[in-house]
């Protein structure tokens, strides 16, 4: 009898856990998307792209927001406002990953990752240069 109750309790707990887990998982899943996708959806997404150096790029010290323009992989350009200062390595990044949502044609980013693929890898042509440092 106790064995049966134990199994019933355990199954209920496991089922609840899986259901809650699945719901939480779907809620917190962040997809990689384009600006066009981001505009259609209200959810937080991640957009990969490139900083447009010729467009306005500024830091607002009062509001502590960093504004710049980014072109995503589908060549759509959008204004991005990051809640925070200019990210590390922003100037040399070959790729930017912005996490946030679109509101009124502006992408409000909560977090930005900068990607510098060859940053830490030595190149052959650097071998001789490094001796002169």
């Amino acid at each position: 009898m106790t064995g049966k109750i134990k199994i019933i309790i355990a199954s209920v707990v496991v089922v609840v856990f899986i259901v809650v887990g699945f719901m939480s998982f779907m809620d917190n899943k962040i997809d990689y998307a384009s600006f066009a996708d981001a505009q259609k959806r209200l959810k937080t997404v991640e957009v990969k792209g490139v900083w447009q150096k010729d467009k306005e790029t500024k830091y607002d010290a009062e509001k502590s927001t960093f504004t710049f323009y980014m072109k995503d992989e589908a060549n759509t350009e959008m204004k991005v406002i990051l809640d925070g200062a200019k990210p590390n390595n922003f100037d040399i990044a070959t790729m930017i990953v912005a996490k946030g949502k679109v509101k009124d044609d502006v992408f409000y980013a909560k977090e930005i990752l900068t990607k510098c693929p060859s940053k830490y890898e030595g190149k052959g042509e650097d071998v001789k240069k490094s001796s002169n440092l």
């Binding site: 134990k6 917190n28 899943k29 150096k53 590390n88 390595n89 693929p117 042509e125 071998v127 490094s130």
Partner: protein, 778 residues
């Protein structure tokens, strides 16, 4: 040559050793000697290769690509040593080195008494064999001219190396990775024991002699993980100690499984239950180490982590994948092979309120937590998505509450029958103490009901374990390791509640000399000092002095920023004021140079519309792109000259001005322009901005100022910092330390038990209540 040769020797010897041990397992006892001999050769090969690499690092042998790439002559000794493991090749070497050293102790350990030497050593050597294989594919002993045949001629030796990434130039770099790798390497041992048990078809004896090893892994790996957290918090300025990053997660998952197995294996020793669970968990912990290595070393998570990954190349990718697949197949194969024997093992007692059941629930909760983290971390591999931190936090919260509950209550529950009256009596004192402490926490600000519950169960776990620990210590015994570990975890969670849920953060823009207030502190930026770090002779660093005042007590906090030539970017490091119940955390964000253009002189001019600027009427006609293509290559590069054509009327004359500005990497250096007949105002063209059509299309940002009204030098630089208050974070670190002390105490105790009570194994078997198992023993 020497280094590569040593690795080849180690690899070949390991294969012979495996064959020797396996033949010994098949009953040909003579081959045991061959297995041992070649295992020693493997170990010597790996050790000398590691020593050779260390020699290359210490003596700056820059003709080796690895040394050139990671190291330099300007590093001080601890950091110079750490360049040994700063890159992938070296960290595989370190993994191999630790596995080899552990192997020496393991062989000594299993060759004493009946400890399944042939089986355990065969499995252990197979792991070492794979590590040497990776070292063959990803060798730290390549010469520069082998790596870069086009650029470097044979025999060339540079005088200087590239140097260590400034992010890694820190004391923690010298101890965090080795601790973590020691933890990873040590998890091979419980795996080898479990596989040995399957090979030998003996599921009982290993439970007792593997306990010190499981404890060792748990203690070291846990310490390594939290060192990484402390490094991130105190030096790297990530703001927190844990970000649910794939690299962090993938080392946490094996640790959680290891801790689960620790509890169930102790239960097996007491009651004989959980034999299957223990085999499974010990195997799983090791496979998860391989999975972690694959995730973090194969480059597969390149886009979803703050850690930078380098692509190791297809060969290493394949080798790492082969590593996991091979060991998963062997493990699953062995379980299927022994499936019939495993099936007959008795199942656990069916009573709900026994210590055994509670331990099982605890282990189950730990596994659930590991599963949650595993699913979240693995998502980027299977789809173009990842999960937010909220997922991990929300899912682990109820699990942690359950864990704290079992961690407290299980101590007052017996293995067989519990006297409920006694049980309830035992709970009265810890219950009252927890309740009183909880009221205090609520008064100082704990609000959210679920966190109140979490704090309450953590407090109960804390007081129950503390009470029992005190009782044991009073009676003169030292077996309080488990209680210490539990106290540590309870404190850790209380620290998590305070620091994660009740942290406050604001961004402060501190103009030099002007005071701002936040959290009851007065912050004043009083200027920067340049300084040189002993380990980094290439970059000048800047300490930004911030005067912090509260209740007439003053202190200076100094967050650091500098431009690193190595990574071609700005490096930032926070400063933390540690108080007993909270940390004040200042993270530098940026330094804004004073703008020569006062904000009242700035105009955003729309194309075609007229704007009043003082007594002037200004109309923006168009941009002058010159010969450039609008939005073309030149503009994308950020280096170009752009003009803005304005029509200006000062009430007398109308003139057309073409304000030309040179841009370097997108930063304007505007040339001043004035009207021919009115020199009062100076015009600067600062930038173009493109807004959506609704917002008015293209605009030009222009400064129109009267130099006589602008007092020069009044504008000062502005330091932007993120200031935060993190309550109870000291409780968290105290918890981590106590947890580690708990592990050490347990290891000492269990080791003694095994060394001085050899026949214990036999006792355990006698206790086994199920007669069915007895006949199965060899």
């Amino acid at each position: 040559m020497v280094g590569k040769l040593l690795i080849y020797v180690a690899f070949v010897a390991s294969l012979i050793s495996i064959i020797g041990f396996f033949l010994a397992h098949m009953g040909k006892e003579n081959f045991l000697k061959i297995g041992r001999l070649f295992f020693h050769i493997t170990v010597i090969g790996v050790l000398t290769a590691a020593l050779y690499l260390m020699y290359n690092v210490l003596t700056h042998q820059f003709q080796f690509s690895y040394v050139w790439e990671q190291s330099s002559t300007d590093l001080q000794l601890p950091l110079l040593v750490s360049t040994f493991w700063a890159g992938q090749e070296g960290s595989f070497m370190l993994w191999g080195l630790f596995t080899a050293i552990i192997g020496i102790f393991l062989m000594n350990y299993v060759s004493k008494g009946e400890r399944m030497e042939a089986q355990v050593m065969a499995m252990f050597t197979l792991v070492l064999s794979f590590i040497t294989l990776i070292l063959i594919l990803k060798s730290p002993f390549h010469y520069l001219w082998e790596t870069f045949p086009k650029d470097v001629e044979f025999g060339y030796q540079p005088a200087e190396g590239r140097g260590l990434n400034p992010l890694l130039q820190n004391f923690w770099m010298a101890i965090h990775p080795p601790t973590l790798f020691l933890g990873f390497a040590s998890l091979t041992v419980p795996f080898a024991f479990a596989m040995g048990a399957l090979l030998k078809n003996d599921f009982d004896s290993w439970a007792s002699f593997s306990v010190p090893w499981i404890l060792f892994s748990g203690g070291i790996l846990g310490l390594g993980i939290m060192m990484g957290g402390y490094w991130a918090y105190s030096i790297l300025g990530w703001g927190g100690y844990w970000a649910w990053d794939p690299v962090e997660n993938s080392s946490l998952i094996p640790w959680i499984i290891n801790v689960a197995s620790l509890h169930t294996i102790i239960a097996q020793r007491k009651t004989g239950g959980y034999k299957k669970t223990n085999l499974l968990l010990s195997i799983l912990a090791f496979l998860l180490v391989l999975y972690s290595t694959f995730l973090t070393r194969s480059g597969i998570l390149g886009d979803s982590s703050v850690h930078s990954f380098t692509d190791p190349g297809a060969e290493v990718y394949a080798a790492l994948l082969a590593f996991i697949i091979t060991f998963s197949v062997i493990s699953i194969g062995m379980i299927l092979f022994r499936f019939k024997n495993l099936k007959d093992i008795r199942t656990e007692s069916s009573q709900l309120m026994t210590k055994e059941s509670l331990l099982f629930i605890g282990a189950l909760l730990l596994c659930a937590s590991a599963l949650v983290i595993f699913v979240g971390t693995s998502l980027p591999i299977f789809s173009k998505a990842k999960v937010d931190m909220t997922f991990y936090n929300n899912m682990n919260l109820p699990i942690a509450i359950g864990l704290m509950l079992t961690m407290g209550l299980s101590l007052y529950i017996d293995w067989k029958q519990t006297d409920y009256k006694k049980f309830v009596n035992n709970l009265i004192l810890p219950g009252i103490l927890s309740f009183v402490t909880l009221i205090v926490l609520i008064i100082i600000g704990l609000q959210n009901p679920i966190y109140i519950l979490f704090a309450f169960v953590s407090l109960i776990a804390f007081f129950i374990n503390a009470r029992i620990a005190v009782r044991i210590l009073k009676s003169g015994k030292m077996n309080v390791g488990g209680m210490f570990a539990h106290i540590g975890i309870a404190l850790f969670f209380l620290g998590v509640i305070g620091s994660a849920k009740y942290s406050q953060e604001v961004n402060l823009s501190l103009q030099e000399g002007k005071t701002q207030e936040a959290f009851g502190y007065k912050f004043t930026y009083v200027g920067a000092n340049p300084f040189m770090d002993a380990n980094n002779k290439r970059d000048t660093m800047y300490a930004f002095n911030i005067n912090v005042e509260q209740d007439n007590k003053e202190m200076i906090m100094r967050p650091v920023m500098f431009f690193s030539k190595f990574s071609n970017g700005v490096m930032k490091s926070p400063d933390i004021a540690y108080f007993s119940y909270k940390d004040l955390y200042l993270s530098p964000m940026s330094l804004e140079e004073p703008s020569p253009y006062p904000s009242e002189s700035l105009y955003s001019l729309k194309k075609g519309s007229k704007t009043k600027a003082n007594e002037l009427e200004v109309e923006f006609i168009d941009f002058d792109f010159g010969t450039m293509q609008k939005g073309g290559k030149e503009m994308a590069s950020g280096n170009y000259t752009l003009g803005a054509i304005l029509k200006v009327n000062d009430g007398v004359n109308t003139e057309t001005l073409n304000l030309k500005t040179k841009f370097t990497e997108g930063t304007p250096s505007p040339t001043p322009f004035t009207m021919q007949n009115n020199k009062k105002y100076v015009f600067y063209f600062l930038n173009m901005s493109v807004k959506g059509e609704e917002a008015g299309g293209t605009t030009a940002s222009v400064s129109i100022m009267d130099p006589s009204t602008v007092s020069s030098g009044s504008e000062k630089e502005t330091l932007v910092v993120a200031a935060s208050i993190k309550p109870f974070i000291s409780v968290l670190w105290t918890g981590v330390l106590i947890l580690f002390v708990g592990f050490i105490l347990s290891i000492v105790r269990r080791r003694k038990e095994i060394l001085f009570k050899q026949p214990e194994k036999v006792e355990e078997v006698k206790k086994d209540s199920n007669p069915k198992n007895k006949g199965k023993k060899k």
